[in-house]
């Protein structure tokens, strides 16, 4: 293995490849900041460019673009509450409030450090545990996935302030209802489309995120423009703040990063789960680990609330390479595009890749790591400049946020209907937010809705309609036991108060 690592390092550290990874990180960051153009699009855009390159060089460029795009998504989440990438939605829960408090620089620095740390730990896991973990990932069955989705929903508690739990739950149901629109995945029967062909494919995730986060936030800022209590917020928005972390913040991150990395990597390894679910699970898990004071800060600018999803989504990105490189199974949309690129280079990923093309296997792993180092080196000095976006006067910033939201949707479908649907959802979301109905549970449920129904369907069909599947498999039972423990603990603590 040492020999393989050295081969990988030698390839990845050549001048040409270092240049490629730097360019990849830079362009990836820009593409990731644009709503609607996530890592998947970014990598797809690179495929024609890389065809003339050697396979290792092409893959190194793609790895740079991949991590750059994920970081770019975090940047727009934190600064304008417009997650450019689904995996960075959870980043906005605490990142955006921090930016509003005049700590945009610090929030971006936390995101950069957490991403780097999450990616580093995951790269180490990838080096040592990839072959054995690929077998574990295949051991997951539908009941286990269903239990995992339920566990993911326990994160809802993180978004409900005192006495608002029912509101959060109603938003969960609304999110699941929105996710059920369109053709049923198995039977192709149309549901809730009202005869409109634009709804046949369901409602796009980016559309719902843009409507409930970016657009509704822009409308809320305008709506509350005359509110005197918002005046201080406007002043703090123009402050960039320091990017230095104090000792307490560093200590908090040191606790969060290891556990979120492990969780993120393991979720990333599971086919179909991915960075979005990893980040939500990490956010919910972190809230359960922290003390009562820190818990109150969640959703209002908590350091740990920001570090957890950022660590987990990067760790999950690395984790997603495990089934791709070792089994030839893409675990996410992005790795599916990567698989296409590998096949284009004439490389067949799978158990034999390690033996037949060791230089490819190791150089991809090493370049992923080098990509993260370069990303950190490139982005840290740029943070004060990137954060200046917030200093843009409100009269200019709001229309630009609306422009990015509409363009993100327009680029995906070239369809007026999606734009109107987004405006409609944004107006309703703005009204609901005025009355403290939280939006994150809606997004969480929307993400999990499709997978949840799919896995419940498979489980029930396999068990012939019996709910025994919930405790038949030890893995399902363990995940559900953790879920029940978390819920019971929440209820117990609320009674204790």
């Amino acid at each position: 293995m040492i020999e393989g690592i050295l081969i990988g390092l030698e390839t990845a550290l050549s001048f040409k490849n270092l240049l490629m990874v730097m360019m990849g990180c830079f362009f990836g960051t820009i593409i990731g900041m644009l709503p609607g153009l996530g890592p998947m699009t970014a990598i797809a855009l690179m495929i024609p460019i890389t065809y003339g390159f050697e396979p290792a060089t092409g893959l190194i460029l793609m790895a740079g673009v991949y991590y750059g795009a994920v970081f770019g998504g975090s940047t727009s989440s934190i600064l304008i509450n417009a997650p450019g990438v689904p995996g960075t939605v959870a980043t906005s829960f605490d990142g955006y409030p921090m930016a509003q408090q005049g700590k945009a620089g610090k929030a971006l620095a936390i995101a950069a450090y957490s991403s780097f740390a999450g990616g580093t730990i995951a790269a180490i896991f990838l080096l040592f545990a990839a072959p054995s973990l690929s077998k574990v990932s295949l051991a997951f069955r539908s009941p286990d996935y269903f239990a995992l989705m339920i566990l993911g929903l326990t994160a809802v508690a993180a978004f409900s302030s005192k006495g608002q739990f029912l509101k959060a739950m109603m938003m969960v149901v609304l999110g699941l209802m929105l996710a059920s629109v369109g053709q049923d995945s198995l039977s192709d029967i149309t549901r809730f489309t009202f005869g409109n062909i634009n709804l046949l494919d369901g409602i796009s995730f980016v559309l719902v995120v843009m409507a409930t986060f970016a657009m509704s936030e822009a409308l809320t800022i305008i709506l509350k423009g005359k509110d005197p209590s918002r005046a201080t917020e406007q002043i703090s928005l123009s402050k960039l703040g320091s990017i230095r972390l104090d000792k307490e913040e560093r200590n908090k991150m040191l606790k969060t990063i290891p556990r979120s990395s492990v969780l993120g990597f393991l979720v990333g390894v599971l086919p179909g789960a991915g960075a979005t679910i990893a980040s939500f699970l990490a956010y919910g898990m972190e809230r359960n680990f922290v003390n009562e004071d820190e818990k109150q800060k969640f959703g209002k600018g908590s350091v740990q609330g920001l570090a957890a999803p950022e660590t987990a989504n990067n760790a999950a990105c690395s984790g997603a390479f495990v089934p791709l490189l070792t089994l030839g199974i893409p675990g996410s949309g992005t790795t599916a595009v990567m698989l296409g690129a590998l096949l284009g280079f004439g490389i067949q990923p799978g158990p034999r890749l390690y033996m037949t093309n060791p230089e490819i296997f190791w150089s991809v792993i090493m370049s992923m790591y080098i990509g993260m180092v370069i990303l950190l080196i490139l982005n840290l000095p740029l943070i004060p400049y990137i954060a200046r976006v917030l200093a843009t006067p409100k009269n200019f910033l709001i229309p630009l946020i609306l422009f990015f939201s509409v363009t993100g949707i327009y680029l995906m479908s070239f369809n007026n209907f999606d734009i109107f649907l987004m405006i409609g959802i944004a107006v309703v979301a703005t009204f609901l937010k005025l009355y403290n109905f939280p939006m994150p549970p809606l997004i969480l449920a929307f993400v999990l809705g499709g997978l949840m129904e799919e896995n419940l369907r498979r489980s029930l069909l396999i068990s012939d309609g019996s709910f025994n599947f919930l405790w038949d498999r030890p893995l399902t039972a363990i995940i559900l036991a953790i879920t029940v423990t978390i819920i019971s603990w929440q209820i117990f603590k609320s009674f204790k108060k």
């Binding site: 200019f396 229309p399 630009l400 680029l411 005025l434």
Partner: protein, 156 residues
């Protein structure tokens, strides 16, 4: 008896859930799937009942602290203007093309939000959109529909 807006929203959610349930029963499943342990209706039916249950629970249970919104300080006028401009933008983007519609959308949005620095309003609309289009269409090769620029031979 005075009912809080939070509870009115919950009642509306009850109506939405009831309507969702009604629509669930309209889903036409295949005859062989009708008695299957799980079909296209199963999950939505669960959701509808859970939604109705939660909303009724919210209405019935005493409220801790109903949300108070001071409507006098809310700027409804600017918000409505902005929504209308965005709707118009949505209507014309396919017909007038990306460049003109986006540039005018940005320019008028700045204007309706009270901005009067004309030079900045211009720079952050027409040249900004041109630069954005160059990045997307020229460098990244992302397709942007623009019949006008196509007619003028500026884009392919």
């Amino acid at each position: 008896m005075r009912i809080s807006t939070d509870k009115v929203i919950s009642l509306l959610f009850f109506v939405l859930s009831a309507f969702y349930l009604h629509q669930t029963y309209q889903i036409q499943v295949f005859s062989f799937d009708e008695n299957a342990p799980f079909n296209a209706k199963t999950f939505p039916t669960f959701l509808a009942y859970i939604g109705m249950f939660l909303s009724i629970l919210y209405v019935v249970l005493p409220e801790n602290k109903p949300t108070k919104v001071d409507h006098k300080v809310l700027d409804y006028r600017s918000s409505i203007y902005l929504v209308i401009i965005t709707v118009i933008y949505g209507f014309v983007i396919l017909r007038a093309g990306f460049f003109l519609s986006t540039s005018f959308f940005l320019f008028f949005s700045y204007y309706f939000l009270g901005e009067r620095r004309w030079i900045w309003m211009f720079i952050l609309s027409f040249p900004f959109v041109a630069l954005f289009m160059f990045l997307l269409h020229g460098i990244l090769d992302v397709y942007l529909r623009d019949p006008l620029l196509k007619l003028l031979g500026i884009i392919g």
